[in-house]
Every structure is written in structure tokens, then in C-alpha cells.
Symmetry: C2
Subunit: 99 residues, 2 copies
């Protein structure tokens, strides 16, 4: 399992619209092939900055399958107008630590 | 609850030492006041980059109480020699999304 961490800076005054857009588009992402969870996190230090975290079975489920799908178009239609810039996206894998 | 996201770039060749250091120091962080969880994640795109995610009851539990504690000294002693640069730290709060 990999986690997509998208850092999204929104335009000033667009926080509420962005959160509503994510709420609306979340089911679309959740229905995507290999998607196992979507959560949204707001920065304490930078109030216009969010982290969208999405659990995927593989990086390709996100970067290839989802991005080429109708779901991606719906996601961008719901939130794209709120973006201050193109989001930066990275994928991480949890490191197993002994208990 | 807030989540600390620390972005940590390690020196080339120090990934294994860093992961061992985190495993060693994790119980120290978990014992800190207000700490509710520690996980380590490795970047897919940048193999020397990690995200340490720590659940805290408040930002101050991390930035004030923990950083002034003996636990912080122990954490830095376990992993500090692996850092390629000072980690960048941000805190986020999960946004409640309708199901």
C-alpha cells in the first residue's frame, strides 16, 4: 500500500469552497480502482495549505489509472478552481518499525 | 488531535541507520506527554526522503513540552547524525468530511 500526499495551496478566500469540493469529490476518488481511503488535513502553520492523503494499492493506480479516468476529471472540476498553483504530489510507503 | 509531519532528508548511505535509529527512539517519543502515535514513511520518488508522522494532542505538546524534554535529546542522539539537513516540520489537523 502506498499513500499519496498531495500538498495543495488554495487561493485566499477559497478554503470553504475547497473543503466542500473535496467532500463532493471524495466518493469519486473512493470508487477508483485500488483506492482504499481519502483524508483531508489542514495546515496549522499555513492556513491556505492542505494535505490530501489517499491510500492506493500501487502508485500506478493513482498516476496511471486514476489520472486517465473520468473520476480525475470530476475531481479537478470540483476543486481545480480553488488551487493557487498546481499541487505537488509525492507517494510514500510506511516503514515497518518493531513494536 | 494534530499530526506533526516532519520531512527528513537523510545522507546518502544512511537510510538503514536512520530507520534503526527511529525504531530505537520510537518508544521515547511514544512516552512523551500528549503523544498518541508515531509512524515512519519512505518516499517513493526520493529514496533519501522520509516523513515522520506523530499524533499529538496539541501543537504545544510537540513544540514546547517534547522539544524541551530529555526525550527530544534522546531522539536527536539516535537519528541526528543521519540528517542531510534540518528537518522541516509542519502540523496538520484532519478536516471532517461527510461520509
Amino acid at each position: 500500500m502506498v499513500v499519496e500526499i498531495a500538498t495543495i495551496n488554495v487561493k485566499d478566500g477559497m478554503s470553504e469552497a475547497f473543503e466542500e469540493g473535496v467532500a463532493k469529490a471524495r466518493p469519486v476518488i473512493l470508487r477508483a480502482e485500488g483506492c482504499h481511503g481519502v483524508s483531508l488535513h489542514k495546515s496549522v502553520e499555513f492556513p491556505l495549505r492542505y494535505r490530501l492523503m489517499v491510500q492506493w494499492e500501487s502508485v500506478e493506480n493513482h498516476t496511471v489509472t486514476f489520472r486517465a479516468s473520468e473520476g480525475f476529471t470530476q475531481w479537478r472540476a470540483a476543486v481545480g478552481h480553488c488551487f493557487a498553483e498546481t499541487p505537488s504530489v509525492e507517494h510514500v510507503v510506511e516503514v515497518s518499525l518493531p513494536q
